[in-house]
Symmetry: C2
Subunit: 309 residues, 2 copies
Amino acid sequence: MAEKSKVLVIGVTGLIGKFVVEASAKSGHPTFALLAPPSTPSDPAEADLVEGFKSLGVRVVQGDINDPDTLLTAIRKVDVVISTVETSPEDQYKIVAAITMVGNIKRFLPSVFGSHVDRAHAVEPARTFYAAYYTNILRLLEEQGIPYTYVSCNFLAGWHSSTLAQPGATAPSRDKVVILGDGNAKVVFNREDDIGTYTIKAMDDPRTLNKILYIRPLANTYSMNDLVSLWERKIGKTLERFYIPEEQLLKQIRDAKSPDDLRWAISHSIFVKGDQTNFEIEPSFGVEASELYPDVKYTTVDEYLDQFV
Amino acid sequence: MAEKSKVLVIGVTGLIGKFVVEASAKSGHPTFALLAPPSTPSDPAEADLVEGFKSLGVRVVQGDINDPDTLLTAIRKVDVVISTVETSPEDQYKIVAAITMVGNIKRFLPSVFGSHVDRAHAVEPARTFYAAYYTNILRLLEEQGIPYTYVSCNFLAGWHSSTLAQPGATAPSRDKVVILGDGNAKVVFNREDDIGTYTIKAMDDPRTLNKILYIRPLANTYSMNDLVSLWERKIGKTLERFYIPEEQLLKQIRDAKSPDDLRWAISHSIFVKGDQTNFEIEPSFGVEASELYPDVKYTTVDEYLDQFV
């Protein structure tokens, strides 16, 4: 049996990184997690994270994207680099740069988890943001011939479906919801650990080489109207729905200050334009995760929402 | 007076690197030359090069593009990086990568000395070669926001006008010349030390930031017919001119093996299509060196050829 790819995950303190690290270690890959030296010596959350990693046999490597020597040292240890950083495009450029310098990385998964922005119908400032964060990264990889897989994981269940996509909420509402547009555009919610599982399965799969892996299982694809109805059936109660028409939302984007304008512009692309789902996945550029890995028993939105009833 | 920019030149053993190093040192810039550890311990040409550099106060830094640590160390010493490497695109990518990782370089001059290929009408395999070597590099810099100046120096006098552009020749012919196409397309020949001088003047000039510096002085712009006539007047003798029509050249390109096909395809672009001169330099993308620096007393082709009479 072939040796398992060695994996480095960069950006492990973010929303997805931890789940990718765990999925990698659990599937038997030698796994390295890059972690910046602690800013506060006794951050309990980070100490827990490190303890959890160590219990799975993950090797925590102290280093930093802005410290070239530590970054190169970490990358030299592995075959596959997965970035889940959520900071600036410059941080991603530095990871790509380190991969170029090391020169023998078999696959790079840039931090483009989220919508597939090249197909988005985004208004400003989301359009510029998308270009800097995602489109440029892909071009950098293509131009330099760095083997990549772009994971488009769409929404995170813990962050979005658990709140019915209501900003600031921490649990699904029981009285009212605000819906952007007419609420009929379809969006996709995936649980974070499933995203980790799919990512690790894809990272050295020849079928995902230089392709986009869309995590878009049918059972997790809902319009906001349908998602709210599902929740209503579960709690046996009807919510009051407030719709924000597209024109009003566009005005709100134009009038808002940064970063609210960006947040609303991204929401416009996803909830009004339906940019997570309004295109076919063609074999020339992408594959769908639940079709490629039918053995993965992912958690559906229906199952996920049960915990909140 | 402001401190002079510190300069690193990478690729000093090639056709132009030495002249750039010398121009930099002579104009008072702290100058560093990256040099790979010698493959043969007693290469006399390289020993002469190093001695020459040292006599000008140039600091020779031992290092290699493929040794990330030495490359980073060298780049950390300077403000401006000038690449004159003539090897693979991958070597240039590694320099760009190191600049990205170091993060505070004020200007990068990639090794794109030669024609400005984005405006070239090249046939294959030159088209693909150009894209890999030049166009991609520029995109990498633009996408990552690395400040650059692209020097399009056109032909080197020592390599081209001294031979009347006859492959394999070492001096201007006195009996016959082969001319591609009808010999009326205009090409540009610049002496290597002038290229060095213009490059160093441009490297931290705000007027050349993210622009193309074309070295295209009118006095060095000749059609092949006119260049041969100039030479004929100097030696008082008429050369026999053999013209290769475009169709025949294109067939020759298609039939030739690598790298001859590439060499002929580049010649087709320059001598037949006139790609060094068949466009206006617009302020939006470029500046012309002899206009920008009228004080530079460059050597004309006319003066240059005198030494061979």
